[in-house]
């Protein structure tokens, strides 16, 4: 049969498109052409496939070979079409049977010796194949784990082209040396939730309160304080307080991580909220996603349904930091590139940490700050107003030496996570049928209309508003936070004390009881 086809998958963002791989063998001098908008890495498939076929003990057709990838208008990128191309070619050459391949999607990169090497995004590709009701998928053995997470499709993990051919011919499948996993990128270590417990944190009553509230209501958080005071320590423990991901979220997060090449080999679904901590020198495209031609997910998408922690936030380029504004609102990011527009999910909890000033001593008793007023102003302006405005909770973290005197035995992660879980469950019940699941997601007008505060609490906020200590937007933010605090307490509506505490959390004031804070005069927030 001089013409044959197989199926593979192209990814645009997280969305998979089935790609028909056709091979035509015509009379003419040996020449292989690959058509259908391949990029550079895909054009090289010709040479990889030729070598792999020959080194698997098969003959490469000595004719004019045309490989077509359709839909021809969809730009295709990457090396994962190799195996599909090789099988289409060998079917066209009459070496193997076509029947089994008709209901089979195939992904995998070929080594020159015929080994099948692992690819990125296998999970999303398998999802696409399953949705297009393919019966089975052939994947590199190292990707078989993640592919098997997808229900409703049979997964064949293969080590080499020889093994695939033997299976198609019904002969004994040859044994091959197990594949060696690609060395992981450095960033992988950042996706693991650090195995740290909240009971390591001594003192920091306010800091602990802040991360507990943030985890419970999904509020963005700003921690500032002198170097070494424990900002990073607290942020690292935040993801641990959040409950496991739901099944749908888990699949979505795993698909993003698979595409970003972050899934480990023993591929299991990502069930814990990810903790991603990009360095403050991170480039714009590494943060929001990008890359030439076909876009890839960035750090904010890897942090989807988890925590995005940016330490030393004022050191980050303000423009880079400002790109977070749109995904913070919408929960996704659209990356536009020449080849395609890719949409990645990006609903993350933002945690920013900062020193009080470049020298780190302002507002502490550890020394005298040497920064000039101009330097201080410039430093503080580097986090723009719109970003700061979205940070529901602001907290100054002081060195433990000063706050350790609290004298409490620190609660462990397990205890606090239990409370957070209960608080989240209350929110799910309250917002049932609305599509929202967290206080931080509910629009202000809806909250005011459907779930109003009691009169006393409302009066307090009105007074603060009239005194110029609360802006209209800040008002809504405080209300949301008050609900979260009430959910943590397990009570029906926020009390005036909780509302007042929410106000303090929002404005960064010390957490003092309401009675001590009668004076309503002070700086505007």
């Amino acid at each position: 049969m001089p013409l044959a086809q197989t199926w593979s998958v192209a990814l645009v963002g997280l969305e998979g498109h089935l790609v028909e791989v056709e091979a035509d063998i015509a009379q003419g001098l040996p020449k292989t052409t690959l058509i259908g908008l391949p990029d550079a890495s895909l054009s090289e498939a010709r040479d990889r496939v030729r070598a792999a076929v020959v080194n698997s003990g098969e003959r490469f057709p000595d004719r004019k070979v045309t490989i077509g990838l359709s839909p021809a208008t969809l730009p295709k990128t990457g090396s994962h079409y190799d195996v599909a191309i090789a099988l289409a070619l060998l079917t066209a050459a009459g070496v193997i049977e076509a029947r089994w391949l008709r209901q089979t999607a195939i992904i995998g990169e070929l080594g020159l010796d015929g080994r099948i090497r692992e690819v990125r995004g296998a999970l999303a590709m398998t999802l696409a194949a399953a949705r297009s009701s393919f019966e089975r998928i052939v994947v590199p053995e190292l990707n078989a784990g993640e592919a098997r997470l997808v229900p409703g499709i049979e997964v064949y993990g293969m080590r080499s082209l020889r093994q695939v051919l033997a299976m198609l011919r019904g002969t004994e499948i040859p044994d091959e040396a197990p594949p060696r996993a690609e060395p992981r990128l450095l960033s992988e270590s950042l996706t693991r939730v650090p195995e740290v417990d909240l009971d390591d944190v001594i003192g920091q009553r306010e800091g602990r309160r802040a991360i507990e509230a943030a985890a419970a209501g999904g509020h963005h958080l700003f921690l500032h304080g002198p170097p070494g005071s424990g900002k990073t320590m607290l942020a690292e423990r935040l993801a641990g307080l959040m409950p496991d991901l739901s099944t749908d979220d888990s699949l979505e997060v795993s698909a993003v991580h698979s595409l970003a090449g972050l899934l480990t080999n023993d591929a299991e679904l990502v069930v814990r909220p990810p903790f991603i901590a990009p360095h403050h020198t991170a480039s714009l495209s590494s943060l929001v996603g990008g890359g030439s031609g076909m876009p890839r997910p960035g750090a904010i998408s890897c942090a989807h349904r988890g925590v995005l922690f940016i330490d030393e936030a004022p050191e980050m380029h303000p423009l880079t930091l400002d790109t977070l504004r749109q995904p913070l609102e919408s929960g996704y990011i659209e990356v536009h590139r020449s080849a395609a527009v890719a949409k990645f999910p990006a609903r993350f909890m933002l945690v920013l940490a900062a020193n009080p000033c470049p020298c780190g001593l302002s507002g502490t008793n550890q020394g005298i700050c040497t920064c000039t007023p101009q330097i201080l102003t410039r430093y503080r302006q580097r986090i723009s107003g719109p970003i700061k405005d979205r940070l529901d909770i602001q907290r100054q973290i002081l060195p433990a030496a000063r706050s350790a005197a609290d004298g409490e035995t620190p609660e462990s992660t397990a205890v606090v996570a239990e409370r957070v879980k209960a608080a989240r469950d209350r929110q799910v019940v309250r917002y049932r049928g609305t599509g929202w699941i967290l206080n931080s997601e509910v629009p202000g007008p809806v909250l005011r209309r459907e779930h109003p505060l009691d009169t006393a609490s409302h009066k307090l906020l009105e007074d603060l508003y009239s005194a110029g200590r609360l802006t209209a937007r800040g008002f809504d933010r405080v209300v949301r936070l008050a609900w979260t605090l009430a959910d943590l307490e397990g009570i029906g509506t926020p009390t005036i004390d909780l509302t007042h505490q929410a106000f303090q959390l929002r404005t960064g004031e010390p957490l003092t009881p309401l009675a001590d804070a009668r004076s309503l005069k002070g700086p505007t927030t």
Binding site: Q27, G28, L29, P30, D62, R63
Partner: protein, 118 residues
């Protein structure tokens, strides 16, 4: 040098025999002019076939068909024109074929015929 020529000659004989078996009529072999040489000129129906024979004793240096370059094809086209000029023939169509002869150790020589190489 001797061996190489003898192998080439033997390959051309095999190719000619193969073409006859396929129903070609051989018109001329090893026709030369100052442009070069045509290995076999044959006729299939009313088509004139200019045939280049490539012989190899193994695949270590690539397949015999792969050894045909663009330059060689251009030469073959010009040779075909010159041959027609000298012979004053008016065939219905002209075609350039390549026959690859492979002598592999231990097995019978194989003949691979590409119709319409260019």
């Amino acid at each position: 040098m001797r061996t190489k020529n003898a192998v080439g000659r033997y390959g051309e004989d095999l190719a000619a025999r193969y073409l006859v078996g396929e129903g070609f009529a051989i018109l001329e072999r090893n026709w030369r002019c100052e442009l070069g040489e045509i290995d076999i000129v044959a006729r299939e129906g009313d088509t004139l076939v200019v045939c280049e024979v490539r012989t190899r004793r193994g695949l270590n240096y690539g397949s015999p068909l792969e050894s045909i370059t663009y330059r060689k094809l251009t030469t073959l086209r010009r040779l075909a024109g010159r041959w027609l000029q000298t012979h004053q023939l008016k065939p219905g169509a002209i075609r350039i074929d390549v026959v690859a002869v492979l002598f592999d150790q231990n097995t019978a020589p194989s003949v691979d015929h590409v119709r319409g190489a260019a």
